[in-house]
Amino acid sequence: MIRLVPRRQRSRAMVWGAPLLAVALTLITGGLTFAIMGKPMGAALFTFFVQPLTSVYGVSELIVKASPLVLIGIGLSLGFRANVWNIGAEGQYTFGAILGGGIAIFFHDSTSPFLLPAMLIAGAVGGMAWAAIPAFLRTRFNANEILVSLMLTYVAVLLLSYLVHGPWRDPDGYNFPESRLFPEAGTMPVLIEGTRVHMGVFFALIAVGVALLLGKGLTGFKLKLVGLAPEAARFAGFSETRIIWFALLAGGGLAGLAGVIEVAGPIGQLIPTISPGYGFTAIIVAFLGRLHPVGVLLAGLVMALTYLGGETAQIEIGVPAAVTGLFQGFLLFYLLACDVLIRYRVHILIGKAAR
């Protein structure tokens, strides 16, 4: 019989100890899985969790993969704190990419230094506009944002599909579904030669910083209060409507920014598939990071590592891609479960004591 006894205070030791315990448990479970599959346990774990980090290129790719997750995760964590359920970051990401990418396609001859800034702004605005729909429908018509934001994701993806299959096709591209390549002035500058680390990384870090500041300020308090005690918030004179708008626009804006950064950075054009599920993965990242900016940053890096590790394991030891999903599942389950140790002490009662 296991009983959870609340701690008076959040355990500081467990804030760091819980994730370490989770990683240890994942390694044990993962090792066993590999053993069952007939792969050398130690080597397999090394390939999955360490090898991607043993080269400069590997680390650079980790950063590239993590930055959209962090950027979107930060925006979502603001909303989730206020209990605003934006499940449609994927759609906001896509619409941001459409709007920002559209500018690059429209001004494809441009060499102007203002092209990229204009695209980034358009991307953020696009994301906000897409998130404004659930915000408006929620505040004006009381329509639940889970449904609206989720459904709009499919709409945005189909819209992108229409554009790249139709009007925005590369005129020299034999009618294949892809836009022109963006002009030089419309691509994210690469920061480290020989890698794909681009300026977008800064945006992710800035977002973490701003979110930290917000969290300490009044807005952070308002968000939290609306989330935890809507009545009290109303009593204190905070407008729920404004908080909903803020939460969705912040989430949408950052998702849209992430979208345009991806198409102007690693991808370099509009294509039918611009996201390997970043918008959904970022939801996990937000909660895994306990909705705290630094936590989100770390969670983003951990998630990114599992993807890279999965690919490395496929190449080096020939395990199927499904193992990545399985491992992510284990890791997330353990991380989420171990969080209980921060606020509770676990008492294991045996036999008669169990009552």
């Binding site: 329509a143 989720l150 299959h165 996990i284 599942g329 997330l332 989420l336 479960a337 509770y344």
Partner: protein, 309 residues
């Protein structure tokens, strides 16, 4: 072209498209009514789909297959419940993790079932009745699971509205503190509701791999779990509206394909958008009465409960 003889097959297709959504959404509705938000419906469904297919393939019996599917859904839901209810893990993240886990697990375990086939579920046939034009095949010519889906929704509606069990379940979802204070075992009730949702999700998956497209393939659900989740919100947590939502979504999905076949000159991507857009529009219309929704929405949805809090 009197229209009617075309209507019957159209409706039959809609029923097939809507039934898995209805099963999964009905299960999730019960889970959510108890205050638990399980975003892992996709994971439940895909696991159920594989288990049902494998069960049928091995045993040769679709009934055993569906039971396997339901059982697999329950096991997945138990993982979710243990994490979120016993260990108080965050429900949203755990649900999403459940989906990732389910998709990975099934693609790993299912590789041996690629490219093999099983018998389709038999359809009901009542001599005389099933031959009535238009209505006959629709009302008296379905497979058992279609009838089961309606029975489930009816049963859930009745239990929630008319029975003590339903009352307790709703109380737990509305305010776990009060329910606890009244002496109800909040955690145990939520466990049951979550497992029920798991079983229904598993059955929904079974319908996919045994009836809709009788085969196993990786990611067979292709996002239907997400639609089911949205439909629960759409229904404003009322079983009756769930039927409307599932059939509306299924119908528009099928009708847009028909429109394409008839040569409607709209790019197919826009036609494909219609089920999502119409669902939003209808939701807006039915959500305008704020009071009515709040009566049904479980106030504790997604919140962890610990008795000593």
């Amino acid at each position: 072209m009197s229209g009617f003889e075309h209507l019957t097959p159209l409706i039959l297709t809609v029923i097939t498209a809507s039934t898995p959504l209805l099963f999964a959404a009905a299960g999730e509705l019960v889970t959510e009514r108890s205050g638990v938000l399980n975003l892992g419906v996709e994971g439940l469904m895909v696991t159920g789909a594989l288990a049902a297919f494998a069960g049928t393939y091995v045993s040769g019996s679709a009934i055993i297959g569906v039971l396997c599917g339901a059982l697999a859904g329950v096991l997945m839901a138990l993982v979710f419940a243990a994490l979120t209810l016993s260990l108080l893990a965050n429900q949203v993240a755990t649900g999403l993790a459940l989906t990732i886990f389910g998709l990975g697990l099934t693609s790993l375990l299912g590789s041996g079932f690629i490219g093999v086939t099983v018998e389709n579920l038999p359809k009901l046939y009542i001599p005389g009745l099933s031959e009535i034009p238009v209505l006959g095949p629709i009302v008296f010519g379905q497979d058992a699971m279609v009838y089961l889906s309606f029975a489930c929704v009816g049963g859930i509606g009745w239990v929630l509205a008319r029975t003590r069990v339903g009352l307790i379940l709703r109380a737990v979802g509305a305010s776990h503190d009060s329910a606890h204070a009244l002496g109800y075992p909040v955690i145990r009730i939520r466990y049951m509701a979550t497992m029920f949702g798991g079983a229904m999700g598993g059955i929904a998956g079974s319908y996919l791999s045994l009836v809709y497209t009788p085969m196993w393939a990786e990611n067979l659900t292709a996002g239907r779990g997400w639609i089911a989740l949205a439909l629960v919100v759409f229904s404003t947590w009322r079983p009756g509206r769930l039927v409307v939502g599932a059939y509306l979504f299924g119908a528009i999905t099928v009708i847009q394909l028909h429109a394409q076949g008839l040569g409607v000159a709209v790019p197919s991507q826009f036609l494909s958008m219609t089920p999502y857009l119409v669902t939003i529009m209808v939701l807006v219309v039915i959500s305008r009465d704020r009071l009515k929704i709040q009566l049904n929405a479980p106030a504790c949805l997604g919140r962890s409960f610990h008795p000593a809090q």
